[in-house]
């Protein structure tokens, strides 16, 4: 399988280092070699997206092609991050995939309320997880046409 080498940035919002490592492994196993930015809490994720705080020097023109968002995060929850994203014109059209342990109806319903693009429950079985990452990555990074950038 050909490696997908693009300038498309993937933002992974994940507080658990194990999950982060497994996610990176799953991406690699699927030959997804895009630039991967990892933020470890909701506040950091928002700083990155809106170029504030620690990420104030970042080029605001570069925005992630897809965001893999855990819902259970320190400081600012994943649902709050999603809500803030969707409220801002600059970030409202970025595809967000909720990647979480929870299969609570409430979490799923709230995510869709804030216009999540996909909701994927991380399976315990790592083989299944790799397959899920493969399909999602292929879809959002390759098949899907993102919103054209503003001139």
């Amino acid at each position: 399988m050909a490696t997908i080498i693009e300038d498309k940035v993937i933002l992974l919002v994940e507080d658990n280092p194990d999950d982060e490592a497994l996610a990176i492994r799953a991406l690699k196993k699927n030959n997804i070699a895009n630039q991967l930015v990892v933020t470890r809490d909701g506040a950091d994720a928002l700083d990155y997206l809106f170029c504030t705080g620690a990420h104030a020097d970042r080029d605001p023109e570069v925005q992630p092609t897809v965001i893999f968002l855990d819902l259970k995060l320190p400081k600012v929850s994943g649902l709050e991050v999603l809500r803030r994203l969707r409220e801002d014109r600059r970030t409202q059209s970025i595809p967000v995939v909720a990647l979480t342990s929870s299969n609570e109806d409430k979490d799923i319903a709230d995510s869709y309320k804030y216009h999540v693009n996909s909701y994927i429950r991380k399976p315990v079985d790592f083989v299944q997880f790799v397959e899920a990452v493969r399909q999602v990555g292929l879809y959002w990074l390759v098949l899907n046409h993102p919103m054209p950038r503003a001139a």
């Binding site: 194990d18 342990s101 929870s102 299969n103 109806d105 991380k122 399976p123 315990v124 790592f126």
Partner: protein, 626 residues
């Protein structure tokens, strides 16, 4: 109190009206009766007086005429002849007569042949032997029959007074006729002497209704004709029929001056004249009017006294009634300790006593009623306190339940996230070990890692099943019509699709409808049918049946299979969580499925039970009573 005073006025007024009417009518009646009798008596007296006066007047006039006649007759006593001595003697007699009788104005002697031989007059020179022929004059030939002749009244050219001629035959063979002219104004003088009271007077009319004597002589001189007056007409008509003459008739008529008068008449027999007497009505009846006035005064005084008496009477009658009324009103207003004091000694006093007794009884009733009301209020208070404490307890319980529920919610959420996360790490890194370092491990090491992964995944499944069980308790019920048969069909189709290689016969009774939560019921059916599916896996001719039967008169649904079955000795352990009757390697499962089913059925108010035997299949019954 406005209506009270108003009704007091009514009763009082009613009594007043009744009393005043009674006494008023009585005194008016007696007054009128009095007036009537006074009137009758008065009138009778007046009539009698007038009648007598009239008779007296007539006889006076008659007397005057007779006297005059007698005086004339006296001159005729001496025999008459035409000798100058005799004529002279007669002339002297006549002169003496004129002196003695002022009413005679002229007198003449006719010879037996009706020739005037002598005439003596107050107004002219005496004439002797004028020989005027009066033989055809009625005064001669009527007087010649021997009866005194009275001529009709006449008026002379030279005088305004009325006159009358009286002629009579003289004594002896050669007796002639003496003719005298009588001035009737003397009758007027006579008549003016007649008075009745102040304004009453008499007058005389002749046979034709001509006035010949009246106190006001000018009326006579003007030759007044009274024949148009009804009383005169009546008198003339009566004199034409002498049979009707009797006591003079008295009547009330209008006189010449158009005044109302009480009048009567009496004929003067030999002359055919009529004397009238009249008296102004108000004068005639003056005593009557006095009487009437007196009677009216008495009636008025009577009415006034009766009014006063009725006021007193009505007050006296109304007072106890008012006392009763105000007492009854006080009782009505709830002032039951008031008593009514009426001391009339009659039925009213009894009525007052009745009221007092009634108010006493009412007071007693009220007291008992008040007591009952107080008791009822106390009971209501107790009930309210109970309800309040119950409400309080319910609120406490609800708060506790809410707290418990939210704790459970947080716990479930935590389990859902946090318990799975390390499992994922274990599984993920075990897989990474196998992939990256597999060649460095022998087959036993690799087998161990696989076992770690299998256990991890089973743990994940257990967590999911536990969450499912807790969700059946936590989720809110949404009750609607549920087609149970349809749900069974759908779940069966799912199972067949998952393992299309299996040959399993489903017998599903159609049309089983219940009220319930479709989602929860589907979870229950998934578990029950999943069990049947699982435990018939080793059956060559697997059969799963869904149907409806009766239990205690209620529909009981059942799912029956011909699978592995179970030992009825452990039937009570079937529905406990983590209770398994089969070894894991025999039939996989967490032991949570039937616990979940039981919770769903309990939440629907139903009951679940099972029948079965080892190797002979199992039947699960349940009822739904939402």
């Amino acid at each position: 109190m406005g209506s009270l005073s108003k009704s007091r006025g009514n009763l009082f007024r009613k009594y007043m009206v009744i009393f005043v009417t009674l006494i008023g009518v009585a005194s008016l009646t007696s007054g009128f009766i009095e007036i009537y009798f006074v009137y009758q008596q008065n009138k009778a007296a007046e009539v009698l007086l007038q009648q007598e006066k009239a008779i007296a007047a007539a006889s006076q006039i008659e007397q005057f005429v007779k006297e005059t006649e007698h005086q004339i007759a006296w001159t005729t006593h001496y025999p008459w002849n035409t000798s100058s001595e005799a004529v002279n003697q007669r002339r002297l007699d006549y002169l003496r007569l004129l002196r003695q009788v002022p009413a005679i104005t002229a007198i003449s002697q006719l010879d037996p042949l009706g020739m005037e031989q002598l005439r003596v007059s107050r107004l002219a020179v005496d004439v002797i032997g004028s020989q005027s022929d009066l033989s055809r004059d009625p005064k001669f030939f009527l007087a010649k029959t021997g009866k005194t002749y009275f001529s009709p009244v006449y008026f002379l050219k030279e005088s305004a007074d009325p006159y009358m001629t009286i002629a009579m035959v003289g004594a002896g063979q050669l007796a002639g006729v003496t003719v005298a002219e009588v001035n009737l104004k003397f009758i007027s003088e006579l008549v003016s002497q007649i008075k009745i009271g102040e304004g009453g007077y008499a007058y005389v009319v002749d046979t034709s209704g001509q006035l010949i004597a009246h106190p006001d002589i000018s009326l006579v001189l003007r030759r007044t004709d009274l024949s148009s007056l009804p009383q005169v007409q009546a008198a003339l008509a009566a004199s034409a029929e002498p049979a009707t003459l009797g006591r003079p008739q008295v009547s009330i008529e209008r006189n010449l001056q158009k005044n109302r008068v009480l009048t009567t008449y009496q004929p003067i027999a030999p002359l055919g004249w009529t004397v009238f007497l009249e008296q102004p009505l108000n004068e005639a009846f003056a005593p009557l009017y006095d009487s009437i006035l007196r009677a009216i005064l008495l009636v008025i005084i009577g009415l006034g006294l009766s009014f006063l008496a009725s006021v007193v009477m009505a007050r006296k009658m109304v007072a106890p009634i008012l006392a009763l009324q105000s007492g009854a009103a006080r009782i009505g207003a709830g002032m039951l300790d008031q008593t009514i004091r009426v001391r009339t000694g009659d039925e009213l006093e009894e009525l007052g006593e009745e009221f007092n007794r009634m108010s006493t009884q009412l007071r007693a009733s009220y007291a008992s009623l008040n007591h009952q009301v107080e008791e009822a209020e106390r009971a209501a208070q107790d009930i309210k306190q109970l309800a309040d404490s119950l409400e309080h307890r319910v609120a406490e319980r609800t708060a506790e339940l809410t707290a418990t529920n939210s704790e459970l919610e947080a716990f479930s959420y935590s389990v859902s996230h946090d318990l799975r996360t390390p499992l994922r790490s274990i599984d993920g890194f075990s897989q990474a070990l196998l992939e990256d370092y597999g060649e460095k491990l022998d087959s036993t090491g690799q087998e161990y890692l696989r076992r770690v992964r299998a256990a991890t995944q089973r743990m994940g499944q257990l967590i999911d099943d536990l969450l499912g069980l807790s969700r059946t308790t936590r989720t809110k019920m949404e009750v609607q019509d549920v087609d149970l048969s349809g749900l069974v069909e759908a779940v069966a189709a799912d199972l067949k699709q998952r393992q299309p290689e299996r040959q399993t016969e489903f017998a599903i009774a159609p049309g089983a409808m219940v009220k319930g939560d479709g989602k929860l019921l589907r979870i229950a059916l998934e578990n029950l049918l999943g069990n049947s599916w699982k435990f018939t896996a080793k059956q060559p001719q697997a059969r799963i049946e869904f149907g409806v039967t009766q239990s205690d008169g209620k529909p009981a649904f059942f799912i029956r299979d011909n699978g592995a079955g179970f030992d009825m000795a452990y039937a009570d352990k079937l529905f406990g969580a983590f209770q398994r009757l089969h070894k894991t390697d025999e039939f996989e499962g967490s032991g949570i499925g039937l616990a979940t089913v039981q919770r769903v059925i309990h939440r629907h108010g139903g009951r679940i039970w099972a029948e079965g035997a080892v190797g002979k299949g199992a039947t699960f019954y349940f009822t739904i009573l939402v």
